[in-house]
Amino acid sequence: MSTTTTPASPDPRPGPAPEELAFDVSELPGGARGALEAVLMVADEPLPALRLATVLGLPTAQVEDHLAELAAEYREQGRGFDLRHAGAGWRFYSAPAHADVVGRFVLDRQTARLTQAALETLAVIAYRQPVTRGQVSAVRGVNVDSVVRTLAARGLVVELGTEPSGAVLYGTSPYFLERMGMTSLDDLPPLAPYLPEIDTMSGVDGEPEATP
């Protein structure tokens, strides 16, 4: 558990806080970890440790330690929720063990499965980003416009910019990482086992060009 259970002190003296803070998290019940829980409870998106550190007036490394400890504690206690680091930061989730109960309760969530076509398009975008629709089409051999549009509406794919030619470049969103339970694209399994020669194939993975 946390360091102290001292009730909120009326003394507003800021402790080690770098800025003007109206509070000192270490003096609150539950300390810094209680404060983290309180903030995470009202957040509706993953919160980076850095942002939490700023709000709490604590060093980021310390906040990261607290978050990892809280996550471990919930697991140990067999809580129905857990704290995860996915996508852009930390967020409360329902525990997977309770998926059936939660599924009975929540109907309006974007958990609909992606079609094979959508998955393949998503895979090409994930591994080749930034990539144009034309390039994805070239790999998949079919027009992918409407699939890309649906992936964008689902928030999995976002526009990253445009090529000089005007073609829109697409990539995956932080929400995609979150849905995958990953914190970075580096967590994607390598294509290599499937395609050893991928690196040596200039002209295939790069800009397609007319061939005789």
């Binding site: 094979q116 393949e120 998503l122 005007g166 995958m180 294509l191 499937y194 060009e209």
Partner: protein, 304 residues
């Protein structure tokens, strides 16, 4: 070619195994019998020569399999059929490239040709690779979906803390925004400039050739395409010559097989020669890297 390449019976490697999961479509050829996916694997490992594969037979068996499935309970999904088409088209390209007379690698053109073959090949492998990782991606998304994130609105007490909203727009601006958002999207125009070489038309190239041959009387094919800026132009000029031959205004002489081709002008000096473009009025377009389907004709994939 051996009746059955080694590896076909032995345990396939992990790549082939991963592929063979989804497709039970089997082919029965003279030199190979087994899943289509395994056939691809063997070709990709150079254990089977593409030129030895009877693609027409593969296609016949594919059509038979699709018909049988349609007659049964579970017709094949469009996805699966179009996937086969992509793979088959690539195999066909690959085979065509391999069958073209090659000879020794002497000049840059030959090198380009070889590279083109590798590209066709690589494109096929690449497609399979993404298909495989897509499967893992789907499994992961599904497993992760067993946990749901907390996504709740702000408690009223906290919402009250927010600074008073400054509304900078009125009804008219709102209407503009709505109209903009609700406007039917122009069918998304994909810039394909990077996929296509500039269009080259048979008719135009025919006019160029007519002009030259009228003046020179004759010339070798080599000289007639000397100024071609791309191999696409070479191809189109060749097609144009065939059209002119059909019109009866040129003749061909070739002393030895694969030797220089001499083109003679046999038409009049004044007649209007207008080649009818058999390739549709559409200009012939370059094929994208890998020489697959013409991308303009790609089937639109359902959004669902």
């Amino acid at each position: 070619m051996a009746t059955r390449p080694e590896g076909a019976t032995a345990a396939p490697d992990e790549v082939e195994q991963a592929r063979s999961v989804s497709s039970p479509f089997e082919v029965h050829l003279e030199n190979f019998t087994g899943p289509f996916d395994l056939l691809l694997g063997l070709i990709s490992k150079h254990k089977l020569d593409i030129t030895e594969v009877a693609l027409a037979q593969v296609t016949d068996e594919f059509i038979a399999a699709v018909r049988a499935a349609e007659a049964g309970d579970e017709p094949w999904e469009l996805n699966r059929i179009s996937e086969f088409l992509v793979v088959a088209a690539t195999l066909l390209d690959l085979k065509a490239a391999r069958l073209l007379p090659a000879g020794a690698v002497e000049d840059a053109e030959d090198l380009e040709m070889l590279e083109a073959r590798d590209l066709l090949f690589a494109r096929l492998l690449q497609y399979r690779a993404y298909k495989d990782v897509a499967q893992g991606l789907g499994q992961r998304l599904e497993a992760q979906a067993r946990s749901l994130p907390r996504e709740v609105g702000l408690e009223p007490d906290l919402a009250a803390l927010l600074p008073e909203l400054v509304m900078e727009i009125g009804p008219a601006e709102l209407a503009v925004l709505a109209a903009h958002a609700l406007q039917p999207r122009v069918a998304p125009t994909v810039d394909t400039g990077h996929l296509h070489a500039p269009a080259v038309s048979v008719r135009e190239q025919a006019a160029v050739l007519v002009d030259r041959l009228r003046r020179a009387g004759s010339g070798s094919f080599r000289t007639l395409v000397q100024d071609a800026e791309s191999s696409l132009v070479v191809v189109v000029r060749f097609l144009a010559l065939l059209e002119l031959y059909r019109e009866g205004v040129v003749g061909f002489d070739q002393v030895s097989p694969l030797g220089d081709l001499t083109v003679r002008w046999t038409g009049g000096q004044e007649d209007e020669i207008d080649v009818v473009d058999d390739y549709g009025d559409l200009p012939v377009e370059a094929v994208p890297a890998g020489g697959g389907l013409p991308s303009t004709d790609r089937p639109e994939e359902g959004g669902a």
